[in-house]
Amino acid sequence: MQSIEEFRASTRAWLEENCPASMRTPMQEDEVVWGGRNASFKNADSKLWLERMAGKGWTTPTWPKEYGGGGLNKEENIVLLQELQRIGARQALNSFGISMLGPVLLEYGTHEQKAEHIPKIVKGEIRWCQGYSEPGSGSDLASLSTKAVLDGDHYVLNGAKVWTSYADKADWIFCLVRTDFEAAKHSGISFILFDMQTQGVSTRPIRLISGSSPFCETFFDDVRVPARNLVGTLNDGWTIAKRLLQHERTMISGFGLSDKASSRTLDARSVEGKAMQARGDTDRLSDPVLRDDIARYKIDAEAFAFTSQRSMEEAKLNKGPNATSSMLKNYGCELNKRRYELLLQALGTQSLGWVSADHEDFSADELKVTREWLRSKGNSIEGGTAEIQLNVIAKRVLGLPDMPMLTTKKGG
């Protein structure tokens, strides 16, 4: 058994040899590798980097080797992350399979289900999307009504999902469906997986206020899904659904981790750097109110990053994500929203352009701020609204009581 220092040395040597130089530069948004049957690689090195990392199982370093994962323990995983960070390596693969489905499939799936799906997630061969919200079921997710009725060895699905991220680009979907129509709303839900190419599945992109369409409406019209694709116990899908939401919140809380304070020198790309550049300031931001607001934001962002780190260390002592994932999700989203509001103030009206064909009026960076500012408004809605997260903290963490159901009193 090799020591942790030997592991560090061999990891460093492997990365030195295998991480292409272009993969050690900051990644633009359109360069993110999502994988899937129709995976596109803007840069040939991205494909090579994915293949090499997936070969080691290091796209999912702590997942079991049996299913293609890296099989690293927590200590080794930290070393790997440190070594990747040291050379500024890009994330080889980003997917909902890794951040959401994989962890719950490993926890609740059968051996056959894991053997079928996990290796393809590790290698980025299948891109997953999440079938949760419905037109009538947003914050009250458990009221969902997409039906799955058993017919022989298949379930027949009918209904509609909404806010399905990248459904038009995904290969498979993990989906919440109602399988018991008599039971209380939380008790009749099941968790099921199926191919988006199955007959009867259709998607329609939703145009957002930012002008982009990362979400879809997804329709199921007599979609036949093999019964063996149901994960966990029939009608107990809510347990898995909640577990997955914790993983999702942990992922989204990462949004608040931008603008890391790596050094104390001014970074031209930071909010304060842009604010100073836009005003022609050299050594001190000339707007004192904005300066105070940015300092407050950055202090919170640092304290938030420390909290994420502490939460990880505490999770190591205990097990898996806990109720504080709601706190981190909520705070991270609010921080990201604050950051974009500050960016608007930093750039003045240059942050308010919409189109500029030749970039004479507005630079590409400025236009990007406008769009991303609009997109950031969704951060505190998706994955459970801010209000839902506060409810979860109040009830699950602080143990505050539920409001007894209001009843009409006669003569009251």
């Binding site: 931001l285 105070d292 940015i294 202090i299 602080l398």
Partner: protein, 379 residues
């Protein structure tokens, strides 16, 4: 560097918690206030804290301390903060022992640090000259007279100044009012001729002092550190104390928050526990989140103090700015969420509010530290 407390710290925290609950709950502060105790704290209780090692925790072993590092004070201060324990921990231990340890000569360290660790010496840092923290705005003058120095000026908000056996006085030996160079530190005995110390009673029932210095004559060996270069020692000292005070504030905020949550689970109105109201739940959840960030900011700063020590100033300002802001929020909510009873003197929550405002201002309020943080980050 770890973001969680280690085994030693957890044990120490438990013993500090037991000690404070048994010997120094809020009723002790109430007793000191109601009796208008001339010291503003119990000397007997302080000796017990000394016996537990609190005074010498961060003092090196060669000078009579325990060399445990600042991580020990971190957990002790959180518990004293929770119980509002009046003690010389901030003035004598966090401020003066640190300044002597960082800037003192061998002789000064040998003379003073073992006495502090043994609980035989109380000290105070005479720094502020206005109602606003500003460690470079020093007008108190120290002029060389060939054989030593002559000090003139005044100092205000000198914590524990009325009980200190010795003072560390921050004075200007050269330069203009706001210059960071030309500041020097001096050890001044409380009986020195020309020194007049007046106790001022503060809203938190603790004491500070106003001090007049009139032609104070000091020998050359009263100088602590190098002539004109006191600011560097002062800033390092202040950062240690800011981080320490942030730990006390964390304890204060945590206690108020815990009392709020208890109350929300007990108090009934409209036939339901008021904790079922979403208007209160969301405020409680927001406070919880902010408190988690506060805890991390304090832990991170202490980890740096006992670790690489490379980024202490910015981390001290993160901790002090964050804690000052959030303790302000939570201390207000403490009164509001308790309703009418929160306004009564009989109820303890008001003591927490009063202490909160003093520690919020102490060694720089939130605005001071945001400004300092911005400067340290190049904007």
């Amino acid at each position: 560097m770890s973001m969680v407390l280690n085994e030693d710290q957890l044990m120490l925290k438990q013993s500090a918690q037991d000690f404070c609950q048994a010997n120094a709950p809020v009723s002790e502060l109430r007793r000191v206030r109601d009796n208008r105790d001339p010291d503003g704290f119990s000397r007997e209780l302080w000796q017990q804290m000394v016996a537990l090692g609190w005074a010498g925790m961060a003092i090196p072993e060669e000078y009579g301390g325990f060399g445990f590092g600042y991580g020990g004070l971190e957990v002790v201060l959180e518990e004293t903060g929770r119980n509002l324990v009046p003690s010389p921990l901030v003035a004598t231990v966090l401020l003066c022992a640190t300044a002597i340890n960082l800037g003192g000569s061998q002789a000064q360290k040998s003379a003073l640090l073992p006495s502090i660790a043994a609980g035989e010496l109380l000290m105070a840092l005479a720094l502020e000259e206005t109602a606003f923290h500003n460690p470079s705005r020093i007008q108190c003058s120290a002029q060389s007279n060939g054989t030593g120095f002559v000090l003139n000026g005044h100092k205000t908000f000198v914590l524990d100044g009325h009980v200190a056996d010795q003072l560390i006085v921050v004075a200007r030996t050269s330069g203009a009012r706001d210059d960071t160079s030309g500041i020097s530190l001096f050890l001044v005995d409380r009986d020195t001729q020309g020194l007049s110390i007046t106790r001022s009673e503060m809203v938190d029932s603790r004491n500070s002092a106003n001090i007049q210095l009139q032609n104070i004559q000091l020998a050359e060996d009263a100088l602590l550190g190098e002539l004109g270069k006191g600011y560097e020692i002062l800033e390092k000292t202040l950062d240690v104390a800011r981080i320490g005070v942030a730990a006390e504030m964390l304890g204060n905020a945590q206690e108020v928050f815990d009392r709020i949550i208890d109350y929300l689970k007990q108090r009934e109105q409209f036939g339901v526990l008021i904790g079922a109201f979403q208007g209160l739940q969301h405020r409680a959840a927001t406070m919880y989140s902010e408190l988690e960030l506060c805890r991390s900011a304090v832990r991170r700063a202490f980890a740096e103090l006992d670790g690489a020590q490379e980024d202490v100033p910015a981390l001290a300002s993160v901790a002090k700015a964050k804690l000052s802001e959030i303790l302000g929020l939570i201390s207000n909510e403490g009164v509001q969420m308790h309703g009418g009873i929160g306004m009564t003197d009989e109820f303890d929550i008001g003591f927490y509010l009063k202490r909160a405002r003093v520690v919020q201002a102490l060694l720089g309020d939130a605005a001071f530290h945001r400004d300092r943080y911005a400067s340290l980050n190049g904007f």
